[in-house]
């Protein structure tokens, strides 16, 4: 991986959790299993993909 996988996993986890709470607070989704478990999992996967592909600011 050319990015930062640990940062990706941690950031993705918290991104999903905070996004779930934000959507709940704005009345979009309740804090059901889909949002509380699903969104953090999606965030972790997104973090790993970003870390694997490192599409931003690649340095050589």
């Amino acid at each position: 991986m050319s990015g930062r996988p640990v940062l990706g996993v941690v950031s993705g986890l918290f991104f999903g959790l905070f996004l779930a709470v934000m959507l709940q607070q704005f009345g979009v989704l309740p804090l059901d299993t889909l949002s509380v478990v699903g969104l953090p999992v999606v965030g972790i996967v997104l973090g790993l993909i970003l870390a694997a592909t490192a599409p931003f600011g690649r340095k050589s």
């Binding site: 930062r4 704005f26 309740p30 804090l31 870390a51 600011g57």
Partner: protein
């Protein structure tokens, strides 16, 4: 059924709204709650059709009524909020219902809500059960606490946390120097 009144507070309102029979409710219970001139019932079980609670407004009184198809004696029950796969119980009750009553009604002043509720906004899935000798009921409704999410403590924290975590995701996608 009179003993249902001991549940008290918002839990009573939410329970009696959650118990009515609908596609996802079991048991022969029925009920409704009227808030700010709008009557809610068993169909208010989706995020786009919730029971709207103006917790941020003063002087609002909710009227509620509920019934069971048969007397339920020696009953227990609870009402809770779904948080992921876990149900956080917010109220429980029990009683003999020696009078074999099958209905109850009353009012609840939203000003009596706990202070922390007034700082919350958003959509909540509320579930309830009520069971005893003679029958049982269970069901759920969606409840939306009105208010400005952007200025509530939890809402503002969630916005900040989401942005901070998004920045972390972008940083994770930055290529390392080789």
């Amino acid at each position: 059924m009179r003993r249902i009144s001991i549940m008290g507070g918002l839990a009573t309102v939410l329970l009696l709204a959650a118990l009515p029979a609908s596609g996802v409710v079991t048991g022969g219970c029925d009920g409704s709650v009227t808030i700010a001139g709008v009557t809610y019932g068993p169909d208010n079980d989706t995020a786009d059709n919730p029971i709207v609670v103006p917790a941020d407004k003063a002087g609002v009184v909710a009227g509620w009524e509920g019934s069971t198809s048969t007397p339920i004696t020696d009953h227990t029950g609870s009402v809770g909020v779904e948080v992921g796969p876990v149900t956080l119980e917010i109220q429980s009750w029990g009683g003999a219902n020696a009078e074999n009553e099958t209905s109850a009604e009353g009012t609840y002043a939203l000003d009596s809500l706990p202070p922390f509720v007034k700082g919350l906004t958003g959509i909540y899935e509320v579930t309830a059960t009520h069971s005893g000798t003679g029958g049982s009921c269970a069901g759920s409704v969606m409840v939306r606490l009105d208010g400005n999410a952007a200025t509530s403590p939890v809402g503002a924290a969630s916005i900040g946390g989401t942005l901070l975590a998004a920045a972390g995701l972008l940083a994770a996608g930055r290529g390392r120097a080789v």
